[in-house]
């Protein structure tokens, strides 16, 4: 069985921006993603309760070109104004047509 390389994009952002980010990455051709609730502390703010809002971690596995586009979009639209981070990592998948 041959494993194919892909990029895992991880985005961590305010829960209130979850919908915006999902719409944006779908427009870039993302077919699937996983969302989980995340909490933590960063330069911006501690985000660990519902009152102040928590974070969402959005993960999606894509081709390298798409991954680049997502990072560019995040940098242009979200990084400056909101507490947000995004990063890439290498992963290997079966069934490459899914990603």
């Amino acid at each position: 069985m041959k494993l194919e390389p892909r990029k895992l994009v991880t985005i961590i952002i305010l829960d209130s921006l979850e919908k915006d980010v999902i719409d944006d990455i779908k427009a870039l051709g993302v077919k699937g993603y996983t969302i989980s609730t995340a909490q933590g502390e960063g330069l911006n703010h501690t985000r660990d309760n519902q009152w102040e809002g928590v974070n969402r971690k959005i993960e999606t596995i894509v081709r390298e070109e798409t991954a680049q586009k997502i990072i560019e979009l995040m940098s242009k639209k979200y990084f400056e104004k909101y507490g947000a981070i995004a990063f890439l990592s290498d992963v290997y998948v079966l069934r490459k047509e899914k990603f």
Binding site: L14, S16, L17, T37, H45, N49, Q50, W51, E52, G53, V54, K81, Y82
Partner: protein
């Protein structure tokens, strides 16, 4: 009026004590924390129950009877963010975004402060107009729009289009549950409501108590921020509610509300939002500093209103109504 007796009565109340317990737990570094789902569950229950009960009471009132209150509520919510913004800019020397963000919170209302006020009045067997939850729902939206409009005009970087923000506010959890609850209560009336009332009536104050415990935990965590907020913002968070409360009570008398209704309206006017406004402001005014607006609304104004504010508004109303 025996002030000490009145104060004991205020503080010997499970709602207030639960809040204080939360603050205490937070200060001593307790691991007590509400899971996310519980917080969401409690807010859904509270907002829906407030809406339902309001709707049932609304079912035997004609629209013309509530029209003056509706107009008063909207007028208040349109004007109050304007003077709040002006005060914050002129005397507080805050940035456009911060001033607008805080103005949005103080023109908007808090459903939990509202519920605490109703339970205060019910404890004392004081009557008030049943349609107050409808006013609560109406007062959720206008101030946020006005404040964001001011910020937009002053060239603060607002991020979303007005259309998107209005959509966000009207489709948000608060609006759907409150307005939906009012609608269901209105259509099903007293008879229909009786079937579900055991679930929404008896446990209500208990659920509110749990919610206040959680509010206390968060407020306790923000105590340090309160210290850092400075004299101006601290005074603003206490004096503006008293000013808004008094104004609310006077104008309520003017349009002929009962004295109990005036306390409720005064409390609505005095309260600051910490559910609807922060989530709108976080998106629309990202450059505004949350440690100002959240600390003020949640850690200063909210506890003030629940402990001292409501009894003060009650006293003011008694004075105004000569009772």
């Amino acid at each position: 009026m025996d002030i000490i007796h009145e104060l004991t009565r205020t503080f010997a109340n499970p709602l207030v004590l639960a809040f204080i317990l939360g603050v205490f737990a937070s200060i001593i570094g307790s691991s007590l924390k509400f899971p996310e789902g519980l917080y969401v569950g409690l807010t859904i229950y509270l907002l829906f129950a407030i809406g339902l009960k309001g709707g049932v009471k609304l079912s035997n009132i004609s629209f013309l009877d509530i029209l003056p209150s509706v107009i008063l509520s909207i007028t208040f919510c349109v004007l109050s963010p304007i003077w709040c913004y002006w005060i914050l800019r002129k005397f507080g020397k805050l940035s456009v975004a911060d001033s607008a963000a805080i103005a949005a919170h103080y023109g908007c209302v808090s459903a939990v402060t509202f519920s605490a006020c109703l339970s205060y009045l019910e404890n004392r067997n004081i009557e008030y107009e049943g349609y107050m939850p409808a006013l609560l729902a109406i007062m959720e939206v206008p101030a946020i729009l006005v404040a964001l409009y001011i910020a937009g005009r002053k060239n603060a970087q607002t991020n979303s289009s007005m259309k998107k923000i209005i959509h966000e506010l009207l489709t948000g959890k608060g609006s759907i549950l409150l307005l939906g609850g009012i609608f269901i209560g209105l259509v099903s009336g007293k008879e229909g409501y009786e079937k579900i009332s055991p679930f929404f009536d008896a446990p209500f104050t208990g659920v509110l108590t749990l919610f206040l415990l959680d509010a206390g935990i968060i407020a306790g965590k923000k105590l340090f921020d309160v210290w850092k907020s400075g004299v101006f913002l601290f005074s603003f968070s206490i004096l503006i509610p008293i000013f808004h409360g008094t104004l609310g009570i006077l104008s309520a008398k003017l349009i002929g509300l009962s004295s109990g209704g005036a306390v409720v309206f005064g409390t609505l006017a005095a309260s600051a939002s910490y559910i609807a406004a922060p989530s709108a402001v976080r998106i629309a005014l990202p450059e505004a500093n949350p440690s100002y607006y959240l600390t003020m609304a949640l850690a200063i104004t909210f506890p003030f209103n629940v402990t001292l504010g409501i009894p003060i508004y009650y006293q003011i109303s008694s004075l105004v109504y000569g009772g």
